[in-house]
């Protein structure tokens, strides 16, 4: 047994339950999803839209149950990565590890671009020229701001992202209610987009709805820094999917009943309020844009926090450079991992934007790659659950059935989606495949330097000698 934790350096007991929950919720960016996704799912799912959101909420709750089996048993810093290693061993673990890295990184990239685009749109109303150079400059600003907050301390960044996420959800809910129940929506007079002929894309709609929940497991990456982590992290991971399911079903119900003009134009993949509604809707649009901006910014912080902890763990293991596994002496945050990640998180979407031309295309591309990472990791962690419990001798019937059934269902949905989708996302699949292969390449290279690397992966905040009460002398002070 070690005398110091392999992930020492990160400060313990920093986050309350609300902040741990905030980490999970902000990594999902639910308010951006609330106003975006139903508009994409409704055409594909038609009258099954509500059912799609309910079913995916239950499916993600099942994934949450599986992740919870690990969260009650180990204090992780790299979430699904260390969980999968403990269940299925190093090789599937590495796949899960790079999958979550891809998932978090691409989500952070998309959010940075989203935040920069909405900031540009808001500034555009003040007369600042809108365009790619503006967006690029604002993306740098967003990245730098988020980096400063995250290095300064997890408590500060968690508090800020929780606050702005609550604001964003409140705004999104209010705007949806006003836009789809009040007179504003009627003015547009657009026909309902849901046509009976599009029901064949139900599988794709399910997969799309799944991607609206991804990120909820990221509380697992801040367990070391949470107060009472066995309780708070597990609770956050179990309840987030259900709470999100309620929000999404509400948002879908509001939008399915009203008029929806789906994402048009260069900037928003978010519903555009009908222009003919007059000044009322302009004010509403501004509030809406502020809300979405807040949500994207919270998502930059949420995703990058999760990404940096995962990279930090990989650095400690030696899977990547050991320098990344260093923590700041004063602020006790993984500052090297953060400083390494943020330039990529800003540069990739900006470069992509200059190549592709439209923010919408970049956002969809990045989110598609990100979704591949998340779904891959979810699949592995569901399979890892019964294997892990069996290995430690604590397997019971429920986790066995839930783990296997969830994995089978997810595979079925992926296959169904691949068969029914009109415009397949093969490019994203290929990018994901190449990145995973590159990850394996890096692992093979590092393995030559560190021969026992396969045994070193999967670090977590394990029990140290000072925590074990054997040979205990009551008459002395332990440090």
């Amino acid at each position: 047994m070690r005398s110091t934790s392999p992930v020492s350096g990160l400060r313990r007991a920093q986050l309350s339950f609300a902040q741990v929950l905030g980490q999970s919720v902000s990594a999902v960016a639910p308010s951006a999803v609330m106003v975006t996704l139903p508009a994409l799912v409704i055409p594909a799912a038609g009258r099954w839209t509500l059912a799609v959101f309910v079913v995916t909420a239950l499916l993600m709750a099942a994934v949450g149950y599986c992740v919870g089996q690990f969260a009650t048993r180990m204090v992780a810093v790299s979430g699904l990565y260390s969980y999968t290693v403990k269940g299925l061993g190093p090789v599937p673990g590495i796949v899960a590890g790079w999958s979550v890295v891809i998932g978090y990184a691409a989500a952070a990239m998309a959010s940075t671009l989203g935040a920069a685009s909405y900031l540009a749109a808001l500034l555009g109303r003040l007369g600042v020229p809108d365009g790619r150079p503006t967006i690029a400059a604002l993306a740098v600003l967003v990245g730098a701001g988020a980096l400063l907050l995250m290095i300064r301390g997890i408590r500060l960044s968690a508090r800020i992202s929780l606050t702005i996420e609550v604001f964003a959800i409140a705004v999104a809910a209010t705007v949806l209610v006003i836009a789809f129940t009040g007179t504003v929506a009627v003015a547009g007079g657009l026909p309902r987009t849901a046509g009976p002929e599009s029901h064949s894309a139900l599988g794709f709609a399910l997969l799309l709805a799944i991607t609206s929940y991804v990120g909820f497991e990221s509380a697992g990456t801040v367990a070391r820094e949470a107060r009472n982590p066995f309780v708070t992290v597990t609770r956050a991971i179990r309840w987030t999917p259900l709470a999100l399911g309620v929000l999404y079903t509400f948002a879908a119900a509001m939008q399915a009943g009203g008029t929806v003009s789906a994402a048009i134009g260069s900037l928003p993949i978010v519903l555009t309020l009908p222009d003919s509604a007059g000044t009322g809707s302009t004010a509403l649009s501004i509030v809406m844009e502020l809300g979405i901006l807040a949500s994207w910014f919270a998502c930059v912080i949420g995703s990058t926090t999760a990404l940096s902890r995962t990279l930090f763990a990989m650095g400690r293991e030696g899977v990547i450079s050991e320098r990344v596994g260093r923590a700041h002496r004063v602020y006790r945050t993984p500052h090297v991992a953060l400083c390494t990640a943020i330039p990529f998180i800003v540069a990739v979407p900006v470069a992509y934007l200059f190549v592709a031309g439209s923010s919408r295309e970049v956002l969809i591309g990045l989110l598609a790659v990100s979704a591949h990472g998340y779904v891959g990791a979810y699949l592995l962690v569901c399979l890892a659950t019964p294997a892990f419990l069996r290995r430690i001798g604590e397997l019971t019937v429920t986790p066995l059935i839930v783990g296997l059934a969830t994995a089978v269902l997810m595979v079925a949905i992926i296959v169904w989606a691949a068969l029914t989708v009109d415009s397949p996302v093969w490019i994203a699949t290929a990018v994901y495949g190449v990145l995973i292969a590159a990850g394996f390449g890096a692992f093979a290279v590092r393995k030559r330097v560190i021969p026992d690397l396969a045994h070193r992966v999967g670090v977590f905040d394990e029990t140290v000698t000072g925590d074990v009460f054997a040979d205990y002398n009551p008459w002395e002070v332990r440090r």
């Binding site: 048993r73 430690i392 008459w475 332990r478």
Partner: protein, 250 residues
């Protein structure tokens, strides 16, 4: 740990009894016992045992070993163990204390320190200490001995109930001020209180360390607050006696 669970009204005696049985079994079986073994020994349904173990782990009464399958007693058990032991002072140490008491006109007290608390081992009967043991332990930040204990801890907040309670207007209640005071205590190896614990009292305390350097006890002197300067002059004497006590206590 979770006072929010207000629905629990002590009406699940079976669950509480089972949890305590599991705890007892972990203690009896020793380091590394697995969940399955515990369930077998207690003839308890395995799902129930695993759930109870996870609850005990979450609250720190039990810890999971790094292999994730074995269990052992955890840090929260220390509080129970510490409360059950009673301090015993050997005759030789009592003689040393009597020696010191003859030479000064202050109260001379010996405290033992556990991992989480201070315990009065030998108090001066002529000049009693300014507060009793339970007051000291609830206000470790207000007494000299308590400050020695806090300064020894890597994370002093573990032992403090926040917000810091004030016994007198001079009690240090700001966490930042306390942290900087504890730095000084750590640095100089002596802790004081002047009218922080009780109006008009003053104390000074030095650590008694075992051969490995572990803090095992504290030697303290108490007087009136206007005698604080005189008390401060006693530090070399106290240190000398602490060195004499060390081999007798650890």
């Amino acid at each position: 740990m979770t006072p929010a669970d207000g629905s629990l009204s002590g009406r699940q005696p079976k669950a509480v009894q089972s949890a305590l049985q599991v705890l007892e079994e972990v203690a009896r079986a020793g380091v590394g016992v697995t969940a399955k073994e515990i369930a077998e020994h207690l003839s308890m349904p395995s799902a129930t045992t695993y759930r109870l173990l996870n609850l005990l782990v979450a609250d720190g009464y039990v810890v999971r070993l790094p292999d994730l399958s074995g269990f052992s007693l955890g840090p929260r058990m220390g509080v129970l163990i510490d409360a059950a032991v009673s301090p015993m002072v050997c005759t030789a140490a009592r003689d040393v204390l009597a020696d010191l008491r003859l030479s000064v006109r202050f109260g001379v007290h010996l405290f033992y320190l556990t991992n989480t608390a201070v315990r009065i081992a030998d108090a001066d009967s002529e000049y009693p200490p300014p507060a009793d043991e339970s007051v000291l332990n609830r206000h470790l930040h207000a007494c000299g001995v308590g400050k020695l204990l806090l300064a020894e801890k890597r994370d002093a907040n573990e032992l403090l109930t926040l917000p810091l309670g004030a016994l007198t207007p001079r009690t240090v209640t700001s966490r930042a001020a306390l942290a900087s005071e504890l730095d000084v205590v750590r640095d100089q190896g002596v802790a004081t209180q002047i009218s922080e614990l009780r109006e008009g009292s003053a104390c000074i305390a030095v650590p008694v360390r075992g051969p490995s350097g572990a803090l095992v006890a504290a030697l303290a002197m108490s007087g009136r607050d206007d005698q604080a300067d005189l008390l401060a002059r006693q530090v070399p004497t106290l240190r000398e006696y602490a060195v004499r006590l060390s081999p007798l206590l650890a």
